[in-house]
């Protein structure tokens, strides 16, 4: 198979379409999909918390709100999706501005923090909802 002058990739590499980062358009695509999901989720969260704040908004009121199954499920969806969207976005910023070992260090710190945030926040919601 003759290679064209514009494309020096092997036919296999072209067919796989994964590029030099080895994951193709995955990052781009899941960033958009999570963004789309976050439109209703973020609006729901902001207005729900506002309605909660309009009430007594003490510990018992907030606890009661989170413990409702419908709220807990959507809250877990919001937390998981927003942390996922966040880790993708922060990764993009780090690779744009940091080079070399600093880049790797910042990427690892970011992944660790996001994992801790997701685990802590979702565990908290489940603990309240399942209590």
């Amino acid at each position: 198979m003759a290679k064209t002058s514009e494309d020096l990739r092997s036919p296999l590499s072209r067919a796989r379409g994964l590029g030099s980062a080895k994951d193709g358009v995955h990052h781009f695509w899941v960033q958009r999909v999570s963004a789309l999901a976050l439109i209703p989720l973020a609006l729901w969260f902001a207005f729900s918390v506002a309605m909660l704040a309009a009430g007594p908004a003490d510990y018992y009121a907030v606890h009661y709100w989170v413990s409702a199954p419908s709220v807990a499920v959507v809250l877990v969806l919001f937390l998981a999706t927003s942390v996922y969207h966040s880790v993708l976005g922060v990764q993009e910023v780090i690779v744009d501005y940091a080079v070399g070992s600093l880049r790797l260090t910042l990427l690892l710190i970011s992944k660790l923090l996001h994992a801790v945030i997701a685990a802590a926040a979702i565990f908290a919601v489940l603990k309240i909802a399942l209590a």
Partner: protein, 133 residues
Amino acid sequence: MSTKTPAQSRPLSPFMLGQYYRFQWSSLLSFGHRVTGIGLSLGSLLLAAWLIALAGGPQWYGTVAPYLHAWYGQVLLACWTWALMYHLCNGIRHLFWDIGRGFELKTAERSAWLVVIVSLILTAAVWAVAYVA
């Protein structure tokens, strides 16, 4: 290595503003998308702390809640609301670009204004629900 390779000493995008590019509305919004995005990422730390305190019981929640009700807490939450709404509106603008729409300079500048205005309206709406409703 003590000397920088040419690739490392090349200016990266944030330092291009002012020095190499003239000021544009659209670049300010693009920059704002990143800044609000990072702000919201940091905000998720506080969101997790709030939920952990809530799961910890009344004593734990009682140590966190006063900070949220203090004036600086309210200012932070107001900035947070706007950052969320701005990132959301400008994100929708980006999604339109992703499907190849709205690239004309006039359209892009008009949608930039729309993003700023709608994000402020949504922020005001959230706080109106919290305080007036």
